[in-house]
Symmetry: C2
Subunit: 133 residues, 2 copies
């Protein structure tokens, strides 16, 4: 029951960008890597994922880099986790009904589904804004 390192890095780097967000400044990967103490190439993958999921805008070439695509209050912890490691599953059967043959009518499954929904809605409650304000 853990988030991955990549997720933690993503939160860290997004908080950094959000907190320095004076007039749409754009940050290079290299710069973010040093400031947030995240391995450069690994950060590359993470920033790419965040850009694909419309959390960051990326631009190439000279003067390129990354900036937020939305307001900090519109980027929740759930959005970040989902972008980086995919949806929260809790147990495979919750997301793949063919995973287990006792799946139909399983009451363990229905309780785990409740736990999952609560966790997701809890993670949606917190945004980058809550951190930087």
């Amino acid at each position: 029951m853990k988030i991955t390192r990549a997720c933690d890095y993503a939160l860290k780097v997004l908080v950094y960008i959000a907190s320095e967000n004076n007039k749409n400044k754009i940050f290079m990967r290299n710069e973010l890597s040093k400031l947030c103490d995240i391995p450069d190439s690994f950060l590359g993958k993470i920033l790419q994922a965040l850009a694909r999921e419309n959390i960051l805008v990326s631009e190439r070439g000279k003067k390129g880099g990354f900036k937020l695509q939305k307001k900090p209050e519109d980027i929740s912890f759930y959005d970040v986790i989902k972008a980086v490691e995919g949806d929260i599953t809790i147990n495979d059967c919750l997301v793949d009904k063919n995973f287990c043959n006792s799946s139909y009518g399983c009451r363990i499954q229905s309780i785990l589904e409740k736990v999952r929904q609560n966790l997701i809605s809890d993670l949606k409650k917190y945004s980058l804004e809550d951190i930087i304000s």
Copy 2:
């Protein structure tokens, strides 16, 4: 963000034992393995862990096996997960303050700690009794 197979197996086997709990019947590992469709040796490890954590009673020798040590309503999902895979961490820094050097005063950490506490208290709400009743 997943529970392990071992945890799911543990829930499954405990629910089975709890539901068949006519007058303190004792179940052999072998029997449970077949009935719950869990690899026999792997189930051994799981049952051992549950016995160590005072969820099951184990007895050796002929007429040996496993039975519940508490009433089904006193065995929560949290108890089972904790017994089998250890405590829920969400992020390493929540459980090891030396893990990250930005740990002191980190606001990501304090939010993740809230999420963790909510998840734990949610998992404590549900017991084996909720499944078998």
